[in-house]
Amino acid sequence: MIISVASGKGGTGKTTVAVNLALSLNNVQLLDCDVEEPNCHIFIKPIFKNKNTVFIPIPQVDQTKCDGCGYCQEVCAYNAIAVINKEVLIFPELCHGCGSCAYFCPHDAIKEENEEIGVVEIGRKGEIQFIHGKLNIGKMTAPPIIRAVKKYINKKKTVIIDVPPGTSCPVITAIKDTDFVILVTEPTPFGLNDLSLAVEVVRKLGIPFGVIINRSDLGNKKIDEYCTSEHIPILMRIPFSKKIAEIYSRGDSIVEVLPEYREKFQRLFTKIKQGKN
């Protein structure tokens, strides 16, 4: 079973939930797909054994073959190509490496050259297989790295995916083809607003989901009211606790310091499995 942990709003506790859930279960793979700022490794402290470079193909124009027809510009979905006075201008920082320009060029004038955009690191901590991606500084396209991380999914294991915040392409790439999405939120106006955006995305993708309210005893009851009216199950509540904040600040995991949480996360997993089946 593949469970992705997403949120909409950043800083609600995705990593806390992903890490502690992974540490509470057996036969687990933990994938940190927040490749712009991966941080699960701080809490898991894995030993990395392998590292693979991720490339995307960037178009290069062969001027001797190009007649400036402009078809590459028309097919580029990312506005990474302009054709002015029959000259092709390429904007590599906008290119997602989809390959359409080279595929559709009627004159075979576009070659693709690999450009490094980041790495995937594979490691282990005890029984947990840990994989994360890191997007190079200055690069803008996270999805190819997220896809490279997800290639390591082993369906015989319970797979936990830490998803980037937001509701854009990297989030969709991370939660696509997963069996269940946990949406972590907090009882604040921003928490509610971004939760409702994330719910729209997950519903569109047709993936079953539920909500965890972090710092649940703060703020107001609006998240509860929203979930009730939208028929969204609240799977777990994590209180606002100085102890948990201290554990997090030291880079430790909740379940290792407060063993009662291990059971809570195991119950969470059981609930998800039952809901799913």
Binding site: Q73, Y78, N79, A80, I81, A82, V83, I84, N85, E87, L89, F91, L94
Partner: protein, 122 residues
């Protein structure tokens, strides 16, 4: 000469929109005949590369000069390749901007005057 002005609306009383790639309309004004038409900017809601696409579009319309608020680096590269003269820093309504342009009150811009993503409101 065809001049494009970034516009918040479809007539000469509309205001100049300060954004090049993400303005809702372009007023395409013909300085010889004094006629104009409003063109919807199809790239105003693009996920990325709005300035590049917008520059491509006005270049395809054989525009020779652009009056706007600001131009970012990517749009600047395309506009320069198309030899479109850029007059940035325009404000007020379209009619006044055209008058100022005709009187030569705008200075031609020689480089991008905002960074990428200026028009996204961040």
């Amino acid at each position: 000469m065809k001049v494009a002005i970034t516009s918040s609306g479809t007539n000469l009383q509309s205001n100049v929109d300060p954004r090049f790639g993400r303005c809702p309309y372009y007023i395409i004004y013909d300085t010889e005949s004094g006629s104009f038409k409003a063109i919807e900017n199809k790239s105003s809601l693009a996920g990325g590369g709005a300035g590049i696409q917008a520059a491509q579009n006005i270049s395809d319309m054989k525009v020779e000069a652009l009056i706007t608020g600001n131009v970012g680096p990517n749009a600047f590269r395309v506009l320069s390749a198309a030899s479109i003269k850029i007059y940035s820093g325009a404000t007020g309504n379209i009619k006044d901007a055209i008058e100022k342009f005709k009187k030569g009150e705008y200075k031609q811009t020689i480089g991008p005057d905002v960074g990428s993503h200026f028009g996204m409101g961040r």
